[in-house]
Amino acid sequence: MTSRTALLPALFLGLLLPLLFGPSGPAAAREPYKIMMVLWRGCEDACRGFQDYLRAQDIPVDYLMRDVKQDPLALPRLVAEARAFQVDLVVTWGTTASLGMLGRHDQVDPDLHLTDTPALFMIVTDPLGVGLVPSLERSGRNLSGSLVVVPEDVQMRAIQSYRPVKRIGVVYNTDEINAVVSLERLRKVADEMGLTVVAREVPLDERGKPYAGSLPGIVADMADEVDLFYIGSSSFLLVHRDAFTSAAVAKGVPVAAAGEVPVMESNALMGLVSRYYNVGQLTAAKAEQILVGGKRPEDIPIEALSRFSLIVNMEVAHKLKLYPPLGLQRFADVIKVSGQPHAPEAKP
């Protein structure tokens, strides 16, 4: 931990040098931190948000960028590499990469998983459910992280502010715990808000897997009973987003999603989401606490953003003639405005 020992003098210099020699970057004063980023599909928004934040704070960092390109088998090698390079922090992106690098909290194998190096995970849908940590307040491990999912009650309120709806349609697959748990939470919230949840299971094919081909039919069937479809946490629906959302739009029923992908890359009308970029920044703030503030990762709670983004797919809004209320437009990220397809939101 040479970098740790260098920390104090670095801080001193950081404070003193500007006093002695006028404005000069404190970055110059210290050896850069070494951060390994373990990515699932390249340096996307969360990764950029992370790096931008640290840059904005003038924290010098040398990055070891490791993109596993959706190959879990590449992960064990990276554990060894992190140790070899004596990095100060490992950041993992997504559920698979995080579990691969860090392991379930009750099945940690020091040979396979990182234990001695501080770690931060991000873009993990359900860190509790997959067993990454036993508690969000304290991980009990040498790691912390950030949450990406927006709570169901916040979701429902956002939907109501777009358009008052009573009957929420949910299609879910039973082979994913996430999907089932998310539905349960939704039912509870709906109860409190006086909403009705109409839920339908996706039938299984002969191999016992949910049958994607059934989605358009199910959606068409349910269209008359619901005011809006809601996509919660489900990898299955995320994969088959186009079939699902297009069928809904064809029936004139809007889709709201808990993640940004169905809105940005498919035909969901709206979604209240944690922007990955912002999640990356939040994660970076925790990195700062660990590297500069000297806090132990297990003392840093795993938190969600306090402000979420409402994304509206204007192309779908046009098709459904379902425009966001004027007041909402001030806060919404409106995308796919005709003439400027896939308009990127403003980025710092």
Binding site: M314, Y323, L326, G327, V337
Partner: protein
Amino acid sequence: MTAAGAQPSDGPSAGTPGDSLVDAGTDVSRLTAGLRSGMLIATLALMVGAAAVLSLVTHRLFEQQLAPEMTRQAATIARFLAADVERALGYGIPISEVVGVAEHFEKARSPHPEMEYIALHRADGTLLQAAGTAPHAGGEGGMTSGTVEAVRGLAAGRPALGSLGGDLVHTNSHDIVLHPVRHAGAVAGVVVVGIDASFVRVQMQELAYDVLTVLLVAVILAFEILALLTNRVVSPLRALHGLMLRVGQGQLDQRLPDRVPGVAGHLFRTVNGTLDALRKRYGRAAAALAAEANGPAPLRERMAEIGRRFGLGEAGADGAAAAPRPAQSVFDVRLPLFLFVFAEELQKSFLPLYIRELFQPVGWLSPAVLLGMPISVYMLALALITPVAGAWTDRFGTRGVFIAGLLPAIGGFVGSSIAGSLFELLGYRALTAIGYAMITIAAQGYIAAVTARQGRAQGMSAFVGVLMAASVCGTAIGGILADRLGYRPVFLFAAALAALAGFLAFRMLSGETVSGGAVRPGARSADYARLLGNRRFLTLLLLAAIPAKIVLTGFLFYAVPLYLAEFGASEAETGRVMILYSILIIAVGPWAGRYADRSGRSWHLVFAGTLLSGVAMAVPGFLHGLHGVLLAVTLLALGHAVSISPQIALVPEVCRAEIDRVGQTTVLSILRMLERVGSVAGPLLVAGVIARLGYVDGLTMIGATVAALSLPLLFMLRSTFRPVHPKTEMPR
């Protein structure tokens, strides 16, 4: 207006023989009256003049600043809203299909009462959506033709009245501010903000009312202070004058008090010295004559005769008659009492609203009843402490009780200002009630002690006058303060005023004065029983006295502030409505008292007044809003003004036997004690009925009941005869 009634007939001239001397006596009265009214007129003129100038300047400033500021704000809002619509159009939403425009505009409009509406028009002038009450385009004889024209003009690039978008445009119905909504290089629509042209006027009116109220209060306060100051000058003059009159009649055995501060004291001592010297010289002459044993007897007799005739007898200087003590008078207690009651009355216009702010639901009580609790608890504490306070006054003296009463009073005020819950407030209000009881009883005792028996009625009417004047001032000023500062600071202000009252009482009240048992002769339970066995007394109590208190505390103190707040009246307005009651009582009450005394028609007046107060409560059922309440309070005040002093005047007639046994004062104090049942029950009763029936029906029902209950009073008319004794005390 209160002191004037008490003072002028207080002169010593009554029964003085000798024309020239009577003339001299009236001259002093005239002189003092002239002095006071002269000072009052001068003060009044100065204050009104200053207030007028100040108002004028403020008015101009207000108008100069307010109107442009309103326009500027409207323009800013129009610009932001237009930008919002432009963004929506940029998303490809057609202007006619933008959703939630009215809601969004309303959010921008609601903090600005002066903005009557905000509307989105198409470029051709047609109205799309609006927040607030936008006049319908094309409707009602081209009411908005001006708006349409202005919108079209702006859309066509012809700014209305040569202004660029955002400036004020006067149309035939409204002042409007416009801002274009641009899309794709053209004007697609216009955001129109309609400004209520009367807003400034209404604001000015509010301000004017407040200034007038403050002025009224200032005049009353100035009067109190003037009365005190002139009394400082006039009462030594009067004492001197009285002495001169008696000396002129040949009564040379007179003295003025020695220990009087200031010029008056110097003067008094000089006069005393002269008279003492005269008596001494007579004594020496008489002694010399007596020593001359063989002197002429007729001369000795002549000398003794002179001594008897002019009061120069052997007693000499020591035998001089005690002069009335001008150092102590009703005026000593007036100002402290006024200030204290003023402080206490500050809460009247908003107390129920304050309670509502602190409200926490209690399962077994309806919220409305809970809101009435603090008033009832206050009245209850007052009723329970009053007799005790009377006993304390007898034991510890008036000044001591007055000043000691400030402790619970100030504690109650400070507590009320920081109360965190309804129940805390209940406690603090009860504490204040204890203080109030101690102080008013002490003041009453002081007045009773310093006024001679025959002047006591006048003294008491001065006491009631101070209470009423302070009530007017306190309620009005309290409303204005609450309106501007919020409720809690008003209680702190009350505490400060009470402290000032205490300081003045400490300085001005004579420590020697003890009430001498004049205030509160103890009433025993046997006396209560005897009176309650008197059917006519019971009728008076149950059908007139108690209903009067129920209406006062339940309707005026509890329901009026809450009901007025229902339709958005400010605390200042509520205060103005409530002081109407006291003002009318002051103006009409004495007249009704005199009429009852002269005509002996007390029962008629009691009946008419009670009936009227019942009718008053039913008025809001027919006439809604502020005007209904105004009329109701007016009728209520008239009803009480004509019936309350006759109620007291009836007591000697109704309770002749009881008065013979225990005395009139005791009987009156029992009546007052019992009628407090109505004060305590009033808020709870009215609140309970309102909780079930709503304001209008509930008040109508209670009013009808009170009116119906007054009918049996008619039967009492048959047995009416003229009261023998004029009333000696006024109700409080």
